[in-house]
């Protein structure tokens, strides 16, 4: 595991703490790991590029 130091907006941190207090996560570290995992999952470069180029084609020549 890598240790990273990061700054997060106050309101995001407060939300994270609430989720921990409510028992959804063990601690705030788990939340930020999950958030990063989720971000990486949804931003796969190959997929993103394919979808964006599909958008360009549709934008220019699509039929509706």
């Amino acid at each position: 595991m890598k240790t990273v130091q990061m700054e997060v907006p106050e309101h995001l941190y407060k939300h994270a703490i609430v989720l921990v207090k409510e028992g959804w996560f063990r601690d705030e570290k788990e939340i930020f790991s999950e958030a990063i995992r989720r971000f990486i999952d949804s931003h796969r470069p190959d997929l993103m590029e394919k979808f964006i180029m599909d958008d360009v084609e549709w934008g220019l020549h699509g039929h509706e």
Partner: protein
């Protein structure tokens, strides 16, 4: 030009990104703009001003969960959030509608399920085809994406898109 007769079901991303680029009104070219309640809450949280434009009417749709087992499973497997899942549940009941999302996983699920799906870049470029904007205006808008919006796109890919449009219109 008359409005397109397409109904769009929006995820939060395109609404936020188009508003950041000050061109949310591009959605007005569609017959209906539908937001699931959870998507509306997400937009309200991150970009409340986007919901206050007097000329843009967002139709509300109650949060629903997909009925089909395949779609439900796909939403779980790809860890889609409540907004994306809700939007897909609406699309499931309106298969002719267009789903707008910038989330790769949500788009992948929609694509696999055979739904029509596009994102912010597509909506912006489509304005040329629809005669709503000149190619030069679209190029300006695209160039602003890295500085004015939170849409993530690799600079080199954005450059490739800009070059493609220039080539297409002999600019």
């Amino acid at each position: 030009m008359n409005k397109s007769n397409i109904r769009v079901i929006c995820d939060a991303g395109p609404v936020i990104h188009l508003d950041e680029l000050n061109c949310l009104e591009l959605l007005c070219d569609f017959q209906e703009i539908v937001l699931a309640d959870t998507v509306r809450e997400e937009v309200k949280h991150h970009r409340p001003e986007a919901l206050k434009k007097p000329d843009i009417h967002f139709m509300r749709a109650s949060q629903e969960y997909p009925e089909g087992a395949s779609l439900r499973t796909m939403c779980r497997v790809f860890s889609l959030d409540a907004g994306e899942t809700g939007a897909l549940a609406i699309i499931e009941k309106n298969p002719d509608a267009l789903f707008l999302t910038d989330d790769a996983c949500a788009r992948l699920v929609a694509d696999r399920m055979g739904f029509k799906v596009h994102g912010t870049i597509g909506i912006i470029i489509r304005t040329i085809r629809r005669g709503l904007m000149q190619p030069e205006e679209v190029l300006q808008l695209l160039a602003q994406i890295p500085t004015k919006s939170s849409l993530h796109i690799r600079r080199s890919l954005l450059g490739k898109i800009i070059e493609k449009i220039k080539k297409e219109f002999y600019l």
